[in-house]
């Protein structure tokens, strides 16, 4: 397979060349996935914390559902969001189909269960440690959630990174609701899908390597920040 060698050369050329189209595509990928992460993060972390500290009938079923939803196939999420946002669907009047906003909604739905389920487990474990203390100070539930979220922040960062990774890597949802429109809704993964279908495997794989490099840069950056913050916190 001479394609592998060619792919690395292509990736290198793409990164060095900093082609305007490629930068636009990378920029949109980041904008869409980070927006989805912020939306899903705020909802997911609140939901995770609430599920961790509360007890109500049927909680077990809710947990099973949230955990199972981590395996939502992107193409199903894309299809459902398409049907909702289509002009034939209930939210067609919003005119969101084939826009970056539609892609953000789809990705947010996709990663919401991941963030909610993983943060729920983390916070519940932490809560078990703190429960006695909370009880002795009669801490209200809302306050308790905030305290737990704050104390678990370093671990929760990994949860957020898992969500971001899933959002940036998926193609099934955004290609349906975004339509892979050039200069409007074309992101890294849909470009890779398009180049694959054109038979340009080296370029497709090269773009994949670029995507991976961006993910490595983000993760390394977050880890470095995290380490600095931890050092200051515990110094």
């Amino acid at each position: 397979m001479q394609d592998f060698g060619a792919a690395f050369l292509t990736a290198f050329d793409l990164l060095i060349g900093a082609d305007a189209d490629l930068l636009e595509i990378i920029g949109l990928s980041l904008r869409v996935s980070i927006s989805a992460l912020l939306a899903a993060g705020l909802i997911g972390l609140s939901l995770g914390a609430a599920l961790a500290v509360t007890r109500f009938p049927g909680r077990g079923i809710v947990l099973v559902i949230v955990n199972s939803m981590m395996g939502l196939p992107p193409v199903v999420v894309g299809l459902v969001v398409y049907m909702l946002l289509s002009n034939a669907g209930p939210f067609g009047f919003l005119g969101l189909l084939y826009t970056p906003e539609a892609m953000i909604i789809a990705q947010a739905i996709l990663i919401l269960p991941i963030i909610a389920a993983l943060s729920r487990q983390l916070i519940e474990d932490l809560h078990a440690e703190y429960a006695e203390q909370f009880r002795s100070f009669c801490v209200p539930t809302g306050r308790m959630m905030m305290e737990l979220l704050w104390d678990a922040r370093y671990s929760l960062l990994t949860v957020m990174l898992a969500g971001l990774g899933r959002a940036m890597a998926e193609v099934g949802a955004v290609i349906i609701v975004g339509g892979n429109i050039n200069h409007l809704t074309r992101v890294m993964t849909t470009t890779i899908a398009l180049e694959t279908s054109k038979g340009d495997l080296a370029l497709a794989l090269g773009l994949g390597i670029v995507l991976l490099s961006i993910a490595i840069a983000i993760n390394a950056g977050v880890m470095a920040l995290n380490a600095t913050a931890k050092r200051q916190a515990y110094a």
């Binding site: 904008r31 869409v32 980070i34 927006s35 989805a36 912020l38 939306a39 899903a40 993060g41 705020l42 909802i43 972390l45 609140s46 939901l47 914390a49 609430a50 500290v53 509360t54 289509s86 002009n87 034939a88 669907g89 067609g92 005119g95 189909l97 084939y98 826009t99 970056p100 906003e101 953000i104 947010a108 209200p140 539930t141 809302g142 959630m145 905030m146 339509g179 892979n180 429109i181 050039n182 409007l184 398009l194 694959t196 279908s197 054109k198 038979g199 340009d200 495997l201």
Partner: protein, 278 residues
């Protein structure tokens, strides 16, 4: 119930923040959406043609390239202003059912059957599409079909019917339905040494040909006509009639037709205009 309030607040904040990050630079009031077949995109025709049109008129055209079957479905859902596909009977039905205003011939090229150089079914150099297919069936040589109700798939089914063969009986054996786009099916076909029926434009621009060759071409039955239709505003009130019709008028004009004809890859013309202004 306090946590519920926190939760609701969090959810609201999340949505607002998400929307705020998403807002800039997406408003395109007069941009039209073209629901299109994939060959016109994969061959690079739009990348060549649309900047010319946009520069001349200042109107933006957004292309959603899916298979013909899905493009028609999306247009029926009112999720497009213009439909540009290649399955004449389905297009005529689309108009007859009231979803489209009028169908116009736009351009054509042809279908070909590509295969491995060893040519296990011995169809190399043949012209007759159905006859070649029946020889492939008889030799049980692998054949990769789109299997996705696209324009190319419809045409392929039509040719099997003309040959009097139901290949789906051998589905999963020598007849392999990939259920995906032209490019993906070509990738699969080349990967497993199967014959593939493809439109010529996608084949010429396809970059993963391996040692594959055109085995069957030149039959009248392999003709591939593209049509263009304005989605009917009576069914879909949001259709941008003015901008959509302007695009169709340009495609069918002398200027548009010449632009289509002037698109070449490797010295070969990919689409042959045959539109008529009416």
């Amino acid at each position: 119930m306090k946590h519920l309030k926190t939760l609701t607040l969090g959810a609201a904040a999340g949505l607002i923040l998400g929307a705020a990050v998403a807002m800039p630079g997406t408003a395109q009031a007069d941009a039209i959406i073209v629901q299109s077949t994939t060959s016109t995109q994969n061959s690079g025709l739009y990348d060549y043609m649309l900047p010319i049109y946009e520069k001349k008129t200042g109107n933006k055209v957004n292309v959603v390239a899916v298979g013909t079957g899905q493009a028609i479905k999306n247009a029926k859902n009112c999720d497009g202003d213009v439909l540009l596909v290649h399955a004449k009977p389905a297009e005529e039905k689309f108009v007859a059912d009231g979803y489209g205003v009028k169908r116009s011939d736009l351009m054509y090229n042809d279908f070909i059957i590509v295969g491995p150089p060893a040519d296990p079914a011995k169809v190399g150099g043949m012209k007759d599409g159905p006859k070649a297919l029946s020889m492939i069936a008889k030799s049980e040589a692998a054949f990769a079909s789109r299997g996705d109700n696209s324009g190319t798939h419809k045409k392929e089914k039509h040719l099997w019917k003309a040959a009097g063969i139901d290949p789906t009986k051998a589905s999963g054996k020598w007849y392999r339905e990939t259920g995906s786009g032209m490019g993906a099916t070509l990738n699969a076909g080349v990967g497993m040494g199967a014959y593939v029926m493809t439109d010529r434009a996608t084949w010429i621009s396809f970059k993963n040909k391996g040692d594959y060759k055109i085995q069957v071409e030149g039959d009248k039955q392999l003709f591939n006509q593209y049509g263009v239709i304005l989605v009917n505003p009576k069914k879909c009130p949001k259709v941008k009639v003015k901008e959509g019709q302007a695009f169709i008028d340009w495609l069918l004009s002398k200027d548009g037709q010449e632009t289509i004809a002037s698109y070449k890859l490797k010295g070969l013309q990919l689409f042959f205009p045959n539109g008529k202004m009416m």
